[in-house]
C-alpha cells in the first residue's frame, strides 16, 4: 500500500484522487454529495452494461428516498434499475447471485440500521464466498447505505462500520466530501470485492464542490492528508471531517498545529499513511461518530501504540459517541463536536512533553 497520499497538502480536501481524473480539461460541475453519487452511478451504468442498481424505491418517480438514484431508471430502464420489495435479505442476496452471474450490482439499503437485516447475506456470504470457494467465486457487489438520521431516533442512526471492518472479506468505505463520494463510489463499483459504501445524511445535500462530470475514481485503501501540522495527527472520516477541520483552525489559534487525515476507506485501512504522520507528530487522536467503545478508533489506537510506543509523547486519544443508543432529543447529543475535539486535543498536546 502506498503512502504517496501523505504528500498531498491542499486546503480543499482533494487528495490523490484528483490525479485519477481523465486528463487535462476535465469538465467539472458544482455538485452535492448526492449529485456526485448519482453521477458516479450514471457513469458506471453508461460505461458497463453489467452494472445493475436495486433496492427499495430506487426507481423513478421516487428515485430512492434520498434521491441518490433519481433519474437512473428513466435513463437506463427498469431492467437495470430495479425497485424491490421491502426485503433486505433478498436485496443483498440477489446482488450476490447477480455478481456470481457476472454482473456488478449496486444495492441500496435505505438505512445503515437495516443492514443488520441483510447482515447474514453480507457477513456470512458476500464476505466469505471467495474464501469458501477457494478463490473460484468473486462477489463484486456494492452495498450503499445511509447513516446519520438522529431525527429518526435510535433505529435509523447507528454507525455500525466497526462491525463490518471486523468481518474479513468486506471493504468499508465512507466519503466525507462530494468529490470523494463520486470517486470512491466509482471505485467500489469497479472493485472485485464486496464493498459497503456508507453515505451520511448531513453530507448528502449541504456542501457543493467541483466534481468531474465524467468517469472519476479515487483508489480504495488510500487515506487523504487533508491538512498538515506538526504537533498532533487528527485521524477521522466521513461526517467528522468537517468538525475536525474547524477544530484544527481553533487549535491553530492556541498554537497547536494539527495534521488532519481523512481515512476515506476503513477497510482496507491505510495504516502506512497514518503511521508516517504520527511518527512525525508523535501525538494522535481518532475521531468518529461511531460509538467509541470498540469503535474503529480502538483498532487504530491499538495499532499506533503497538507500532509507535517509543515515539508517542502521549497515549492516543479516542473521541467517539458515548456508549448509548443514539438519542432523539438534541440536548442529549453524545457525539463529538468541534468544541469537544478542541478541548480534548488541546489537553492532549498541552498535557504532554513538548
Amino acid at each position: 500500500m502506498s503512502t504517496e497520499a501523505a504528500g498531498q497538502t491542499t486546503g480543499q480536501p482533494t487528495g490523490p484522487g484528483t490525479a485519477q481524473a481523465s486528463g487535462p480539461g476535465t469538465e467539472t460541475s458544482q455538485m452535492t454529495a448526492a449529485m456526485a453519487m448519482n453521477s458516479a452511478l450514471a457513469c458506471a451504468m453508461e460505461a458497463d452494461g453489467r452494472v445493475i442498481v436495486l433496492g427499495e424505491d430506487v426507481a423513478d418517480p421516487i428515485g430512492g428516498v434520498f434521491k441518490i438514484t433519481k433519474g437512473l431508471s428513466t435513463r437506463f430502464g427498469t431492467r437495470r434499475v430495479r425497485a424491490t420489495p421491502i426485503a433486505e435479505q433478498a436485496i443483498v442476496g440477489t446482488s450476490i447471485g447477480l455478481a456470481m452471474a457476472g454482473y456488478r450490482p449496486v444495492a441500496e439499503i435505505m438505512f445503515f440500521d437495516f443492514v443488520t437485516i441483510a447482515s447474514d447475506q453480507l457477513v456470512n456470504h458476500a464476505a466469505k464466498l471467495r474464501y469458501m470457494s477457494g478463490g473460484i467465486s468473486s462477489v463484486p457487489i456494492t452495498v450503499r447505505t445511509t447513516v446519520g438520521g438522529a431525527r429518526f431516533g435510535a433505529q435509523h442512526a447507528q454507525s455500525l462500520e466497526a462491525w463490518f471492518m471486523h468481518t474479513p472479506g468486506l471493504k468499508v468505505v465512507m466519503p466525507a466530501t462530494p468529490l470523494d463520494a463520486k470517486g470512491l463510489l466509482a471505485s467500489c463499483i469497479a472493485d472485485d470485492d464486496p464493498c459497503l459504501f456508507i453515505e451520511h445524511m448531513n453530507l448528502n445535500y449541504k456542501a457543493k464542490q467541483d466534481v468531474p462530470v465524467g468517469d472519476f475514481r479515487i483508489p480504495l485503501g488510500r487515506a487523504n492528508v487533508v491538512e498538515t501540522g506538526d504537533d498532533v495527527t487528527l485521524i477521522t472520516y466521513g461526517p467528522m471531517l468537517e468538525p475536525t477541520l474547524k477544530a484544527r483552525e481553533e487549535l491553530a489559534g492556541r498554537g497547536v498545529g494539527a495534521e488532519v487525515i481523512d481515512l476515506r476507506t476503513l477497510m482496507p485501512l491505510d495504516l502506512p499513511t497514518v503511521l508516517a504522520s504520527v511518527a512525525r507528530t508523535r501525538r494522535a487522536a481518532v475521531i468518529h461518530e461511531a460509538t467509541q467503545f470498540c469503535g474503529p478508533g480502538a483498532e487504530i489506537s491499538s495499532q499506533l501504540h503497538e507500532r509507535l510506543w517509543h515515539e508517542l509523547r502521549a497515549p492516543v486519544l479516542r473521541l467517539g459517541a458515548e456508549y448509548t443508543p443514539v438519542p432523539f432529543a438534541a440536548s442529549l447529543n453524545g457525539q463529538p463536536d468541534t468544541a469537544k475535539i478542541v478541548d480534548a486535543v488541546a489537553a492532549l498536546v498541552e498535557g504532554s512533553p513538548a
Binding site: 445493475i52 440477489t94 482496507p268
Partner: protein, 331 residues
C-alpha cells in the same frame, strides 16, 4: 397409471448409477465420521437418493444449483467430480474449494454448483440473483435451489420466493422435505404442513411429489423445469422424503419414532428403484450388478484420492480473502 411417461432404459440406468453412488458415498462418509477419521460436520443425505437421481437426469448442461449443507446428493446430481467432493470434506487442496470450505461449502461453478450454504434458507436469495442473471442474459438456463422443509420457516425463503415470482425468474425451488427441521418434526414447527400449498400462495407453480418414487419425481421435476425454462416464472416442488439417518453423521437418532422410521426404511429409495428396474424389465440384473460394483469403485477411488491429496500450505490461510492476494491487514 403406466400410460404416464417413464424414463428410457439409459435414463433409468443413469438414475440408478447416481443413486447407488450417493448411497455408497453417504454410508462411507458416515462410517468415517463415526470412526473419527473424518473430522468434519457432515449431514447425511440418506433418503434423498431418488430426488437427486431424478434431478440429475432432468437438468440440462448450463443449469445451475445452489444447495445447502446437506449437499452430497445434490453435488453428485449436478456432476461435481466425487474425488473433489471427498477431498473437500477432508480439507485437502484438491477439494472443490482447495480445502478452505469444508463439507458445508462444496463449490464448483464449472459443474454448475454455485454454492452450498451452512445457513438454513440463505442460499435462496442468492439463487434468485443467479436466476436474474440468467434472465438478463436472455439465457434459457434454469437455477435450482434445494432446501429442506426447515428452510420454509425462515424469512429469507419468503423474501426469495416472492421476488422470484414477482420477476418471473427461471428458477426451481426444490424442497427436499425430509420431515425434520434439525430434531423437530414438521408438524411441531408449522401449523400448515402442506408446503406446496403454502408456496402456491406466492403465485408460483407449486406441486408435491413422492420423493421416494424416482419415476414420479423425474416426471414432476421435468415438468417444473420446463415451466421455469419457458419464462412463465418459478416452480416449487415439494418432494416428500424421509431423513433415514441422523441430522449429522454422528448425531443421536433415537428420538425418531421407530415405526415411522421402519416404514420409511421399507421404501429406501435406491434399493426400491433397483427392485423396480428389474421387476419392470427396464434394466437387467447383470447391468445393475455392474453399476453397483462401479459405484463402489468410484467411492473407493474418491476416498483414496482424498487421502493422497496434500493439505493446504500454511500460506493459503491468507489468500482468497480479497481479490488482491498480496494484501494483508495491518501491513
Amino acid at each position: 397409471m403406466e400410460s404416464l411417461e417413464v424414463p428410457d432404459a439409459d435414463a433409468c440406468e443413469r438414475m440408478y448409477r447416481s443413486m447407488a453412488t450417493i448411497t455408497v458415498a453417504d454410508a462411507r462418509v458416515r462410517t468415517e465420521a463415526k470412526a473419527g477419521r473424518l473430522r468434519a460436520a457432515c449431514y447425511p443425505v440418506h433418503g434423498l437418493e431418488a430426488v437427486c437421481g431424478a434431478l440429475g437426469e432432468v437438468l440440462r448442461d448450463g443449469d445451475q444449483l445452489v444447495s445447502t449443507y446437506r449437499n452430497l446428493a445434490d453435488a453428485v446430481a449436478i456432476g461435481v467430480p466425487l474425488r473433489s467432493v471427498i477431498a473437500e470434506m477432508y480439507g485437502r487442496v484438491d477439494g472443490t474449494s482447495k480445502g478452505k470450505g469444508g463439507p458445508m461449502h462444496l463449490h464448483d461453478e464449472q459443474a454448475g454448483l454455485m454454492g452450498t450454504t451452512g445457513i438454513v434458507g440463505s442460499g435462496l436469495p442468492i439463487a434468485v440473483g443467479i436466476a436474474l442473471g440468467a434472465q438478463l442474459d436472455g439465457s434459457d438456463r434454469v437455477v435450482v435451489a434445494t432446501f429442506g422443509d426447515g428452510a420454509t420457516s425462515i424469512g429469507a425463503y419468503h423474501e426469495a420466493i416472492n421476488l422470484a415470482a414477482l420477476w418471473k425468474l427461471p428458477m426451481l425451488f426444490l424442497c427436499q422435505n425430509n420431515q425434520w427441521g434439525e430434531h423437530t418434526p414438521l408438524a411441531e414447527y408449522a401449523a400448515e404442513t402442506d408446503l406446496a400449498k403454502r408456496a402456491a400462495s406466492y403465485g408460483v407453480r407449486a406441486s408435491a411429489v413422492d420423493g421416494f418414487d424416482a419415476v414420479a419425481t423425474w416426471r414432476e421435476l421435468r415438468a417444473a423445469l420446463e415451466h421455469a425454462r419457458s419464462g412463465a416464472g418459478p416452480a416449487f416442488v415439494e418432494a416428500h422424503t424421509y431423513r433415514l439417518a441422523g441430522h449429522t453423521s454422528t448425531a443421536d437418532y433415537s428420538y425418531v419414532p421407530a415405526a415411522e422410521l421402519a416404514a420409511a426404511m421399507e421404501r429406501d429409495p435406491s434399493p426400491t428403484w433397483r427392485k423396480r428396474l428389474v421387476a419392470e424389465g427396464w434394466v437387467d440384473e447383470r447391468t445393475l450388478a455392474r453399476v453397483d460394483d462401479e459405484a463402489q469403485e468410484l467411492v473407493e477411488d474418491a476416498f483414496a484420492f482424498a487421502a493422497a491429496s496434500p493439505e493446504p500450505e500454511p500460506e493459503q490461510l491468507y489468500t482468497d480473502v480479497f481479490a488482491d492476494a498480496s494484501w494483508r491487514v495491518g501491513a
